[in-house]
């Protein structure tokens, strides 16, 4: 088959109707750029949601005592050797944190709230949102620091401030209530998310002392690579025999479901945009073919095989699609780079918080998405041209030339 000739004919036929080709190109560009950019927003939303879930003290993997999820109290805790380190290779392990997390009641002079009181080692918390939060006042100095960090929003509810004292009441390891006064070291600002109202932090040593228990309720592990592999889980389950070793998806099922849905959302969005585009493409190609039925008849009368006519029509579609996809992907990438610093959603902060997102949406481009958009668009272009191509060869040469 004379491919060079067919490419030449296809390209020149596209140039023959410049305005029509340009309109078609623009439609393809807009659709492909839209899909490319939208997929980066969906991915941005997806990974923001995941980061929020993982940084929300969850980590990629969490080790809990059995029963803690149903009754998150000091009764469901476990002992951890002081010099314990996760036995994972450094290229895999980002960090880890052992914590004591118990429900507590916090009281100021004016208000009372229920919170999660979390004992932390500040050195280990570079893996959680505490590393990126903004602070008013001071951070905790060490695991033995007996002051507290309170969320900015909670401080407003409690009508308190840095340097003031709070009373915290919780249940000790012996089942009896413990009550102690804590001075506020600082207020943390977690972008107005629910974290500010949910957690109050103090040194893990200070909390263990209050609870009269030298134990932890959780170990949170962050990995450098995702997803978490089965071998890592197997290793940890073997090491923490008798404890629950859970992935973030087990602990945040709603976020995990949304994360999985985002994969489908990229594809669904692509199908919607391409579906609309394909109708336009088929319509334009059919018009173009029907205008040239006589010409196709003549080509066949001169000896061009029916298959070559099909290839010529398919090539026309593929050429215009390839050009449109190349420009469209380029525009999509430029748009993404232009907005690489993120889109400020603070106007809708309450809404995005409900969706598990932060107020700054950062587009995230994935090569696999770009390849999928480009590859499937070309495939759709070829598919869309099959019907017009069939129309082109369905008419016999003599009938075509009589038109």
């Amino acid at each position: 088959m004379p491919v060079k000739l067919l490419v030449q004919l296809s390209a020149r036929n596209l140039l023959r109707h410049r305005r029509r080709t340009l309109m078609l190109l623009m439609a393809i560009c807009v659709a492909v750029a839209g899909v490319t950019f939208m997929s980066t927003l969906i991915r941005g939303f997806q990974y923001d949601m995941r980061e929020s879930a993982v940084e929300n003290l969850t980590g990629d993997i969490k080790i809990l005592a059995p029963g803690y999820l149903d009754d998150p109290s000091i009764e469901h805790s476990f002992a951890l050797a002081a010099d314990w380190q996760p036995d994972l290779p450094p290229e895999l392990l980002d960090g880890w944190a052992a914590r004591v997390k118990v429900p507590a009641v916090i009281m100021s002079e004016r208000e009372t709230r229920g919170v999660q009181l979390v004992g932390i080692d500040p050195e280990q918390e570079r893996i959680s949102f505490l590393a990126d939060a903004r602070y008013q006042g001071e951070r905790l100095a060490s695991a033995a620091d007996g002051r507290v960090l309170v969320g900015k929003a909670l401080a407003e509810q409690l009508e308190t401030d840095v340097g003031r004292r709070l009373v915290i009441m919780t249940q000790g390891a012996d089942g009896l209530n413990r009550e102690a006064g804590f001075r506020i070291a600082g207020l943390f600002d977690a972008d107005g998310t629910g974290l500010e109202k949910a957690f109050v932090f103090t040194g893990v040593g200070a909390l263990q002392k209050l609870l009269d228990a030298d134990v932890v309720t959780e170990v949170s592990i962050r990995l450098r690579k995702e997803p978490v592999t089965g071998s890592v889980m197997k290793h940890l389950r073997s090491f923490f025999s008798g404890l629950d070793v859970l992935r973030w998806q087990d602990l945040e099922p709603q976020a995990a479901a949304m994360f999985a849905f985002a994969d489908a959302a990229v594809f669904i969005w692509f199908l919607i945009m391409m579906g609309a585009l394909i109708f336009g493409l088929v319509n334009t190609l059919v018009t173009s073919v029907m205008e040239r039925v006589r010409e196709f008849g003549m080509l066949r009368a001169l000896g061009m095989r029916p298959g070559a006519v099909v290839v010529q029509v398919v090539l026309e579609s593929t050429l215009v699609m390839a050009l449109g996809v190349a420009v469209g992907v380029g525009v999509g990438v430029l748009l993404t780079l232009w907005l690489a610093d993120g889109i400020d959603l603070s106007q809708w902060s309450q809404g995005v918080e409900l969706a598990g997102m932060r107020s700054l949406l950062i587009p995230r481009m994935e090569l696999a998405d770009v390849v999928m958009v480009a590859g499937l668009s070309l495939a759709f272009g070829v598919l869309a041209s099959l019907y017009p191509a069939w129309r082109a060869v369905r008419v016999r040469p003599l009938e075509a030339m009589r038109r």
């Binding site: 004379p2 000739l5 036929n13 006589r294 003549m298 066949r300 009368a301 001169l302 040469p397």
Partner: protein, 238 residues
Amino acid sequence: MNDLVVRCRGLTRVYAGEAVPVHALRGIDLDVRGGEFVSLSGPSGSGKSTLLNLIGGLDRPTQGTVDVDGVRLNDLSESELSDMRLHKLGFVFQAYNLIPVLSALENVEFIMQLQGVAAAERHRRAQAMLEELGIGELGARRPGELSGGQQQRVAIARALVTDPVLLLADEPSANLDSATTEELLKLLRHLNESHGVTIVTATHDPMVMAIAKRQVKLRDGAIVEDAAAAAEAAARAE
């Protein structure tokens, strides 16, 4: 050259009309030998174009057989018919039917490209053919930039450049003025006499009929006059 190029036997073509079937051809027998210049003439609806299309493999007979250069067209598939037209036949159409997006030279090269002739070779042959037909300097122009006569010359160049067994011309002068027609006819006669090209043309133009060596007249789908056939029959009778 007098080997049999075309052999039609009992050729019948019936089209499904709106009310009744239309008998375009009614049992035609026709032989064309190599080097002949045959004009098929007759009034509109006589069946001359239908006969030409059947010989060219552009249509299929309802009954009867068509052999071209010893190959029975009835037995060929669409793709085989395409190959037959590509390698053995040259077509000149009433409306020139050049490819509008190709230049005159590229139009002449077109069939050779389909045949897979190397670029340098087809370029040389196409240019030589255009020059032989007196339009060598117009090779870069597209059909829209050429006069009717020039386009028909390009069409003839395209039809002949591959040395086909048979040149079929359907009303080749229909869109030409008389001066251009005269030039075209001189060219066809020259090609037939000097190069031995076998030509079958369907026409109702008396100028074309006048230069053909053999005139076959049709009416109502049947041959009503064929001097060569009559002479052959007479010879057989003697």
